[in-house]
């Protein structure tokens, strides 16, 4: 019995050590001479993604699928519209030139402050909005360069490996809140072909796969 307890304690300690403070191993790098993460800020006219949102809320599973349209407008504002396959809009978000956020439309089922806040944050981090290079810090870990920007809550890391942006992490005080894995960036400023948002606290994921043939004007 004692042996069993010791073993479980050890396992808990190992788990805790592995889980907490994932950013403790980051080694600071002097920012002078290091380029900014904003060189990866997406530049696009419009992109259409296949989108699947999956998760659990109050022990019930949910799943939403549809299309996500990202559009950059001539007045330098950005719109993101999520609709289902059959054409019904779930939400329509916008940011103006100053990156101020507006909800143009959202269905009642999603119209909850926490939901809007989370979706806005996900998209804002992906689109690299409201980031100030004056506050940018740099770290290195496992041959990857971490660009850190402070957020209202926690901070965001843009992770660069092999001279390309490989991921984005929203870090809380101790743990990672959201991991955004990206793949298939044609150029430094292109939106990736695939994007995977994993919310570690809220327990839901968002998968995006770029659709090549898409919207017509």
């Amino acid at each position: 019995m004692t042996h069993c307890l010791r073993l479980s304690s050890l396992l808990i300690l190992c788990w805790a050590a592995g889980c907490k403070a994932p950013y403790k191993a980051l080694q600071p790098v002097a920012s002078a001479g290091v380029h900014t993460a904003l060189q990866y800020k997406p530049l696009f006219d419009k992109e259409l993604y296949r989108c699947v949102v999956e998760g659990k809320f109050l022990l019930k599973s949910f799943r939403l699928s549809g299309l996500l349209l990202l559009k950059h407008l001539p007045d330098s504002s950005t719109r993101v519209v999520f609709q289902n396959e059959i054409g019904f809009s779930f939400f329509d978000f916008g940011w103006n030139k100053q990156d101020d956020f507006t909800v143009h439309h959202i269905i009642p089922q999603l119209d909850k402050p926490a939901v809007i806040r989370t979706l806005e944050k996900d998209l804002r981090l992906l689109l690299m909005k409201r980031l100030d290079t004056a506050t940018e810090k740099h770290f290195i870990k496992d041959y990857s360069l971490y660009h850190q920007f402070p957020l209202e809550q926690g901070s965001v890391y843009y992770i660069e490996s092999n001279n390309t942006l490989s991921g984005i992490e929203h870090a809380g005080k101790r743990k990672t809140v959201t991991t955004i894995t990206i793949a298939g960036k044609e150029t430094a400023q292109a939106l990736p072909d695939t994007i995977f948002f994993q919310h570690h606290k809220a327990h839901f994921t968002i998968q995006l796969h770029k659709i090549i043939r898409h919207a017509t004007e």
Binding site: K46, L48, R50, V52, K60, S61, F62, R63, L64, S65, L67, L69, K71, L73, R79, V81, Q83, N84, E85, I86, G87, F88, S89, F90, D92, H104, H105, I107, P108, Q109, I211, I212, R213, H214, A215, T216, E217
Partner: protein, 211 residues
């Protein structure tokens, strides 16, 4: 999940909108129209067609287009299969519904949800041309030289939150639904145009299998 599916399914009614009622005038003889519609529907055991769906985003001047095939089999079976630029399947068979995307299949029964029952019924009514009998909408019947237009205004609060109007266009000759239009409360609208409409093609029941 049920609420979300309701939105998904209900939006199936989607389809084109905006004062397409131009050139349409109120129907002069509603009884004669109703009789002719019933007669035409009585002779259709099944309907198969191709469709093109176009979502109009009012503020962005953008359109999102998709294509697929539509199947209807009496009395209450519908299959809508999107094939471009993504695959997505919606099957309605009586009280049961199946939704399938590239990764997952979901099944739902409308038995315990009044909203889902309404949704199920309006879709089938639209596709089969029986919308005049639907109690969840007030219907205005109009006509032009080439077509009839049934303009549906939601009568229940749940549907009013989603749509401002649904328009069903029928050709005068065969009373086929040639276009469905859903106008959302925010002003965006979706058109579903039906082409290559065939009647009474033998359809295997497996197409409408939901279990």
């Amino acid at each position: 999940m049920r609420k979300i599916l309701t939105v998904v399914i209900f939006s199936c009614l989607a389809i084109m909108a905006q004062a397409q009622s131009k050139g349409y005038t109120p129907l002069k003889n509603t009884d004669a129209f109703r009789q002719a519609l019933n007669q035409a529907n009585a002779s259709k055991e099944s309907v198969v067609s191709d469709f093109t769906q176009t979502k109009h985003l009012s503020l962005l001047e953008d359109k999102i287009t998709s294509k697929g095939q539509f199947f209807f089999k009496k009395e209450n079976r519908i299959r809508i299969a999107y094939t471009e630029p993504y695959t997505y399947l919606l099957v309605m068979n009586g009280e049961e519904i199946l939704v399938q995307d590239e990764q997952k299949t979901s099944r739902i029964s409308t038995r315990n949800s009044k909203i889902m029952q309404s949704v199920n019924r309006i879709i089938i009514d639209c596709m089969s041309g029986n919308v005049l009998r639907n109690p969840d909408f007030s219907v205005a019947a109009l006509e032009s030289n080439n077509a009839y237009l049934l303009s549906l205004t939601p009568a229940t609060d749940a549907m009013k939150k989603m749509f401002s109007r649904i328009d069903v266009y029928l050709d005068r000759k065969h009373f086929d639904v040639t276009r469905l239009t859903m106008t959302e409360t925010g002003g965006d609208f979706t058109d579903m145009d039906f082409k290559n409409i065939r009647h009474n093609t033998p359809l295997n029941d497996a197409l409408f299998k939901v279990k």
